[in-house]
């Protein structure tokens, strides 16, 4: 019986071999101790070199990188399972600069950025991260040129339409936070449909902050609390941190406070993102522009996170 880790390594080597050779179908027999049964998996490599996994009933289960396992994949060398963050937040900055450096329009940068997000979602699913919050569009971004804003709204719709099935297959639950009333109606409907469609998934909870402002989040919590005070549901003296947390837009999440926040492109600020929730979050500022932020850079951020001593104001000793 092969231990799970070495069977996974063998699988990856075979996939790599199959990608480099002509399109073919190979069958690997792997025994997964956690499942206690022999699973026959066929891996078909398409003409484009992309591997798709089929189960023993011949049903295409999606990308080869999708593991139909209840346990996360082994981590890269140097990362410890027990020190992995449960909730990672990302400010996806640098798309326009990336495009400008290549003499391309900003829209190309945003489209390239989608690839990075796709990879990040897959890695979070593989490595057992529970919540991923992405800052897609801030309330301040509405002041950008109309052409860019319209393009971004269109891009969000296109990406959500094309990626929804893949995201759902990976067991990702989608939620959104932010003032959705400002979004185009078609995007509002699409996001609502995506939330409904994926609500029972549990591999990863992806929270998309769109038209979001940290200060507005706190202000709307204040409004809701004021209404409760006026209606006599609570007294002013009942207002405490727990009450406010319960009224923030992130209150639905099992882990509302990110353990790690990554901001790309070298900018050293939060830009009005999740202000209350970031009280004790470890911040990692990456020089890389978002379209270039891939597995290597994410592993670097995770390494940095795992080196840190989190004290929450007290002492370790």
């Amino acid at each position: 019986m092969l231990p799970l880790r070495s069977s996974v390594s063998l699988e990856k080597k075979l996939l790599s071999f199959s990608r480099n050779s002509c399109p073919s179908t190979i069958t690997q027999s792997l025994l997964f101790p956690s499942h206690g049964r022999l699973v026959q998996l066929k891996t078909a490599v398409s003409a484009t070199g992309v591997a798709h996994r089929e189960d023993d009933k011949g049903v295409n289960t999606g990308m080869a990188s999708t593991w139909d396992l209840s346990e996360p994949e082994p981590l890269p060398p140097g990362l410890l399972r027990e020190l992995m963050p449960r909730h990672v937040a990302v400010v996806m900055d640098g798309n326009a600069r990336w495009a400008r450096r290549r003499g391309l329009p900003a829209s190309s940068g945003h489209e390239a950025g989608v690839q990075s997000l796709r990879e990040l979602i897959e890695l979070c699913v593989k490595w057992g991260i529970r919540v991923l919050t992405v800052f897609a569009f801030s309330s301040e971004n509405w002041f950008r040129p109309k052409g860019e804003v319209d393009f971004l709204m269109g891009l969000f719709e296109r990406v959500m339409e094309s990626e929804l099935q893949n995201i759902h297959r990976q067991g990702v639950q989608i939620s959104t936070i932010g003032d959705s009333s400002k979004l185009p109606k078609s995007l509002q409907k699409l996001l609502s449909r995506a939330e409904q469609y994926t609500k029972d998934n549990s591999q990863l909870h992806m929270i998309v902050a769109i038209s979001y402002s940290g200060r507005s989040d706190i202000t709307q919590a204040c409004k809701r609390i004021a209404r409760k005070v006026k209606d006599g549901v609570i007294c002013l003296e009942d207002i405490d941190e727990k009450l406010i947390e319960g009224e923030l837009e992130t209150s639905f999440s099992d882990f509302p406070s990110p353990d790690l926040l990554i901001r790309t492109s070298g900018e050293l600020r939060l830009s009005n993102f999740l202000l209350w929730q970031l009280a004790y979050t470890e911040l990692f500022f990456a020089q890389t522009l978002w379209p270039d932020f891939r597995k290597t850079e994410f592993v670097e951020a995770l390494h940095s996170f795992q080196q840190r001593q989190r004290r929450y104001g007290s002492r370790n000793s």
Binding site: T219, C222, K230, I244, E267, N272, G313
Partner: protein, 299 residues
């Protein structure tokens, strides 16, 4: 003779250093100078361990470092400085350490109020920001005395966050905002005579309050209302936040106010923070200033 000449050399170097600093600051002043810098003074205990000192001496070294940095900042033209002296979470530390810090705070408040101190040198107004009710009577009395004694100063401001967390500050701001808005509607009722509804309110004297925007029976609370009720509303938002000792997190410090502030985390422990760290941060701030101003104008 040797002692005198040694003293003379020290005076000479000190004078040269001072002249060089003034020259450097005059160059920096060509560019924009941050109005408000906030410091998270982290690393005193680690410094004490590193230098084989007792723990209290690490905090004393940290105080000396603070005075140096304050001198540099005010010389440079920074008007507001905020320091994170003691978090509400720090009360969970060992009682001996908490007591040591409280005693040091009282001692240093008294030092600041003496003639010839940095407070009198720069016409500095002191503010103690936080939930002061959590402090012991003696500490709270010292803080309130310092705020009264410097209330007339207007040239510069030093905001000392003690018994503070940003979440606690926001709880307080939310409570006050709720109280204000709920109280505003108590004497009001809808004008039945005029037949107006949807936001037209008059008080007992018949005065029209149609300027008050309503939402389901209570005045609308805006971001500005919450901001106005923060402890930190006495100063503008920080232009820069500096946390020493290389840790890159805010630890519940000015979460609201630093929404757009660049964050710097030099590796030096707080007692090791020097003029050069400050100069480097200000240079970087100047380099990015016009870009950040553009971003702010977009919002």
């Amino acid at each position: 003779m040797e002692v005198e000449s040694g003293y003379g050399f020290r005076q000479l170097f000190s004078g040269l250093g001072c002249s060089f600093r003034k020259f450097m600051f005059s160059i920096l002043s060509v560019g924009p100078i941050p109005d408000h810098i906030a410091f998270i003074m982290d690393g005193n205990r680690r410094f004490a361990k590193k230098q084989h000192l007792v723990e209290g001496d690490g905090h004393r070294a940290g105080y000396k470092s603070l005075i140096s940095i304050l001198n540099y900042c005010y010389e440079l033209g920074v008007k507001y400085i905020t320091v994170y002296a003691f978090s509400i979470e720090n009360f969970k530390r060992q009682p001996e350490e908490v007591q040591l810090l409280m005693d040091l705070l009282v001692e240093k408040i008294e030092d600041l109020l003496r003639d010839g101190s940095i407070v009198t040198k720069y016409g500095m107004r002191l503010y103690f920001i936080g939930n002061l009710g959590l402090l012991s009577g003696a500490v709270r009395a010292a803080a309130e005395k310092a705020m009264r004694a410097t209330a007339h100063n207007t040239r510069a401001m030093l905001l000392i966050c003690v018994a503070y967390t940003s979440c606690d500050e926001m709880v307080h701001a939310v409570q006050v905002s709720c109280r204000e808005k709920v109280d505003e509607t108590r004497p009001l009722w809808k004008s039945e005579l005029s037949g107006v509804c949807n936001g037209r309110w008059v008080d007992e004297g018949g005065k029209n309050h149609s300027d008050i925007q309503m939402d389901e029976g209570i005045p609308i609370i805006k971001t500005g209302d919450v901001e106005r009720n923060m402890y930190m509303s006495v100063a503008p938002d920080p232009n820069i936040v500096i946390r020493s000792s290389g840790e890159t997190r805010l630890s519940n410090f000015l979460l609201w106010q630093t929404a757009y502030s660049p964050l710097y985390s030099p590796a030096a422990l707080w007692p090791e923070i020097s003029l050069w760290h400050l100069v480097w941060v200000v240079l970087d701030f100047q380099r990015k200033h016009s870009y950040l101003q553009r971003k702010r104008k977009q919002s």
